[in-house]
Symmetry: C2
Subunit: 200 residues, 2 copies
């Protein structure tokens, strides 16, 4: 059985749980407390030398890291990853957008505020993250004003990827009220078959 080394409240880990659940693939969850440095232990570094979660153990000793690489791996050949080359490229574009222009702002702020509960200590850093996070939400909003989903007008790993931290953006201090297209899209994702919430 697949093993997912994860920190439950991480959106990057939730992405994998959501996809596996919707693919109806059973998996075992192993909690790694990143707030206690457990992803930097010598034992864990054997699994991912970069010291980050999630890590998927595909078979004993065979590990894959980077949440979006795991989404790519698991979705290949399923309805969540198109066969069309141009659509595949667009999915990749959104996956890299998420890791470079979205996650470092919205997820990082949420980590300080909601996971560590140190909003006061990280006040300056949180403020610094605001423009980048809102810029990413702006790019998403503009796209979703025209399209139902991110690629090919249907639910794919691009939606799973971007949903993970966007639907809890308020926990990172980002107000979604001004983004009505994003709000509609969040509801559409929540209405997908076999949808499972983050805290399950």
């Amino acid at each position: 059985m697949l093993k997912l080394y994860e920190f439950s409240s991480s959106g990057n880990c939730y992405k994998i749980r959501l996809l596996l659940t919707q693919l109806e693939i059973p998996f075992k969850r192993i909690e790694i407390d990143i707030t206690k440095g457990e992803s930097r232990s010598p034992e864990f570094l054997q699994k991912n030398p970069n010291g980050r979660i999630p890590v998927l153990e595909i078979e004993p000793g065979k590990f894959l890291s980077e949440s979006n690489a795991i989404l790519f791996y698991l979705s290949a050949g399923t309805k969540f990853f198109p066969t069309n080359k141009w659509e595949q490229a667009q999915i990749m574009q959104w996956l890299f957008f998420e890791q470079y222009s979205h996650e470092p702002y919205i997820a990082t702020s949420r980590y300080w505020i909601n996971i560590l509960e140190k909003a006061e200590e990280y006040k300056a850093e949180i403020k610094q993250k605001q423009p980048g996070g809102y810029a990413a939400l702006g790019v998403m909003e503009k796209h979703l004003e025209k399209y139902q989903f991110f690629v090919g007008d249907r639910y794919t790993i691009a939606d799973i990827c971007l949903f993970a931290y966007t639907h809890v953006a308020d926990e990172g201090g980002f107000d979604l009220n001004q983004f009505s297209a994003i709000q509609n899209w969040i509801e559409k994702v929540k209405n997908q078959p076999l949808y499972q919430s983050m805290n399950k």
Copy 2:
């Protein structure tokens, strides 16, 4: 003909030039001066709403952004992207590693020091980027102590991706002297057929 909207001295743009050259695909280069805000002009935002280079125009009006998504798109079905599913997943792992754990440290420092020539002004930020950049180089070194290349022991887009900013890491204030496996790998990349240097 393909059009590459690029800022020549950006490693993210060099990745695309190197792959296109090695694939022997002709392309037209269009310079966008990011230091003058040209990637944030209303006209450019039509091409990439996220306001970043590189952007590849595949046919008139059909644009792809995110350097690593472009590598994925162009290398599909070529010797630079394997057909094996597990190797593809590992390539993706390194591509996301590069954008999340490598580029934001090494490329950003290089931008301040070498492109903007404002090392003094960004002194504090550059210092802050050092541990992350060296951590990424450490992960690469450890891998390259065991393997010739990043995936499947042959030259792929994982190498092109990581080579772009690693071989000029010194321009970002990172000393490669302590990383002998990385240095050997850099030489191997430079010896690949149809290799072209960054400043061409």
